[in-house]
């Protein structure tokens, strides 16, 4: 079994791991770092439930090898809230009824975060384009788009 030693920074904390080369970043997040907020569904980069933010960019962690993430900063859904207080994006998802079964939610929220970090004032169309890689079987997306727009407004009002 050919393995590699990697260091990844997950939600601000460095982890040193030895992984088989074929392990994906998703495998490592869930299995080695034990953060199960990031979900596995299609395992092929189609559904977005495995979305994490890697070096500032939203990616499907199921098609990133753990070795490719060596030295990189990873943000998972667990890293979004601060000491028991939800991030405004999370609060708006709750407030706007954008969560039903909750399975798509972590990926959806991280995609929203990546969008709003780049574009603090997106149009509804820009939001839809941004979440095109995140499937939701429950909500019909309307409340999700509203939640993201409403979170954007809240985040803009916090910045001076």
């Amino acid at each position: 079994m050919k393995t590699s030693k990697i260091r990844i920074k997950v939600n601000g904390e460095w982890h040193e791991l030895t992984v088989p080369n074929q392990k994906t970043l998703l495998d490592v997040i869930r299995g080695d770092v034990h953060l199960t907020g990031t979900k596995r569904m299609c395992d092929s980069g189609e559904c977005g439930s495995c979305t994490v933010i890697m070096d500032g960019k939203a990616v499907n962690s199921c098609i990133v090898l753990a070795v490719e993430a060596n030295g990189k900063e990873i943000n998972t859904i667990e890293g979004l809230s601060q000491i028991g207080k939800l991030h405004p994006i999370q609060e708006e998802f709750v407030a706007k009824g954008a969560i039903q079964c909750g399975f798509c939610t972590p990926g959806m929220i991280l995609t929203a975060k990546a969008l709003l970090d780049q574009k603090p004032d997106p149009t509804a169309q820009e939001v839809k384009t941004a979440i095109a890689g995140n499937l939701c079987r429950c909500t019909g997306y309307v409340r999700i788009v509203n939640a993201i727009l409403s979170a954007a407004e809240r985040l803009r009002s916090i910045q001076p």
């Binding site: 590699s4 395992d43 990616v59 098609i63 090898l65 995609t111 990546a114 095109a132």
Partner: protein, 283 residues
Amino acid sequence: MENFEYFEPKTVREAVRLLVKYKRAAKLLAGGTDLMLGMKEGFVKPKYLINLKTIKGLDKIAYSKKDGLRIGSLTTWADILASGAILEHYPILREAASLIGGHQIRNRGTIGGNICHASPSADSAPALMVYGAQCIISGPRRERVIPIEEIFSGVQKTSLKPGEILTGFRIPPPDPKAKGCYLKFSPRKAMDLPIVGVGAMVRTSNGTFEEVKIALGAVAPTPIRARRAERFLVGKPVSDQSIRQAAEEAVNESNPITDLRASREYRLGLVRELTCQAITRSL
């Protein structure tokens, strides 16, 4: 996925050496949006995986008025969409990039990977073709440059020789009098392959077609130029009739298959319709 030995070369020369050493048992890794799927399904089982992203300088975009565009093969779709030079001077390529995958895929997928995976439906191919792009290839011998059309040799097959790596593309300065577009027909607005893709670039003068380029994706074993349609239009008046006749030529040059996405007949109909639309939008 099966286990493999993993390499992070720092230079193209190092990567070439690895490819030459391990031959068919080695695979190159760019964005991984196609390769990882193949490896998970067991279609591809490399014993040696060579990560190209660790080579500095393969993801640069450089534009000059005199020389046009140099774009590294490891440039991601997100990088292409963020490029001011491509926005201003190569909008057809930008249009193609915006239609690929979704946000997460565009952060990883690369233009070189798209071309080297060599799907007949590769979205960047028609755009690169109508821009007259050239492929820059490094290998065990000296660097060579070939027109984009020549890199495709079959379904998911390139003409790259053993040990060769596509390092980038050269696109000549755009014709300021020409306009073009890329039309992609797919059931979903994102995360989908084209059932048919049409790229066009057109220059007219005094109501006559002066220069025409038409490229088609997903209607042949490789992306193709519709050269008979192009030659037909040059010198013809700009009219619905000449455009429709050109589209008919494009249909005759197409040879699509029937697969789970569409029948051959449907694809031929799309070629007819989309070629008309693409030319019209480029006027």
